[in-house]
Symmetry: D2
Subunit: 139 residues, 4 copies
């Protein structure tokens, strides 16, 4: 069992009038984490996937615990809670340099096929190889 | 009891490579809905609030049910599930023109005071007037 | 000759740590203006265009004259400076409620065809109908 | 004389319906480049600056030459064209892995002081140390 771990620095573009990260920007950071996991750990880079497939998010639960400010470097952790046939439930944590939890949550991703005219989207089982790689991150 | 209701059109800037709304953009739309609710229904416009106060999101649960595409007009609904001393739990729905649920969820907002140097953030009870207006949206 | 005119309210999501609009957000507002122009005035809604075509921006010049703050309503104006075979140079102004210029500039848009596999992009002449509608906005 | 150089990978969040980077996202990448330059080369990290000062963009000229797609790594270069008392004109290039120019342009940044109530913004001369560091990047 492993965590998938990446760091990300808080940027001016993430912050809002209150001087802290605007929460939809945290979800862009989460999307980057998922993208890196597919690319680096699952060997399914989004640059290839998105010609015919996609990994939409269908369920998201987040608790925002502490504010994050420009210049801080967050450690983003992701792990697998449950692997189903065509979907995976991942847990995640963003932790700051003082070891405080910035946010924690759970996200459900679905493996889908996109029709050639890009008008219909259908779930599809993960292939065996990908499923095996995913289970390496099962906590 | 009332729903607070706004419409929003899906824009090019909301969509991603898969031709559908990138989900962090939905949360920007949700933030706009909360902003409009504070401005139009609670008489606490964000332009005034953010000099000394804020309404951070501390908890978010969303289920993404159907994709949304450029040009579609979504009806965004918000209501109150529970009003506490310094926080409020709101339910929300985004529905498309075919009356399909695009997403539904629950968001917890906290009323806070921001210190003058903007370095500390502290929760504070809603004032009586605001609390009363909030309860108009209790389902 | 006409201006194409839309209003847009400054939102929390547009602002940054300095309490004013983060400038890439102004360009999202400009993109919305172009999108509305194509939809409402040129009868080429982006929802149709983007199945096979696109209107990429190839040149942009902006002067940011005054800051814009949350709650302000900007008047966005667009007009045509020059129509070429497959491209159009538009001027634009964003003006605030005190009639101050927030920004002004010039943007060049190109009419393109996107190949079915979406890997190649080629410029194409505007059709006659669209060209005629565009010239209505020539200053 | 030096270029200030950083790399950035194109992410899913940068792309639009046409499968290429949505141009306001390029300007977020440019803002990151300026932010890194101030932090790493000029020793004026935005996390410190923005308590009392800012570096707003007042003029921007960009030519978008080639599309950029998810997974590509761009090399972002910045240099100084002209240093004035309280402003600096920088040139910039974004180049892809095939050595093709993705975009090039010129941005004018102004050094400003923000009043304590954050309601007024005034230009101010760069201090000597910062001016000296800036000239290291003069082409």
């Amino acid at each position: 069992m492993n965590y998938f771990i990446k760091e990300e620095q808080i940027r001016f573009r993430h912050t809002d009038f209150a001087g802290i990260v605007f929460y939809p920007r945290f979800l862009e950071m989460l999307n980057d984490l998922v993208e890196d996991w597919f690319d680096e750990a699952l060997e399914r880079p989004f640059s290839k996937i998105h010609e015919t497939n996609g990994i939409p998010t269908v369920d998201l639960k987040v608790q925002f615990k502490n504010a994050a400010r420009i210049g801080e470097v967050l450690t983003k952790k992701l792990w697998v809670k449950e692997l189903k046939n065509s979907s995976v439930i991942c847990g995640f944590h963003f932790i700051n340099q003082d070891d405080k939890m910035v946010l924690e949550g759970e996200v459900t991703l679905v493996n889908v096929v996109i029709s050639e005219d890009r008008k219909s989207i259908k779930s599809e089982a993960f292939n065996e190889e990908t499923a095996k790689r995913i289970t390496n991150y099962k906590l």
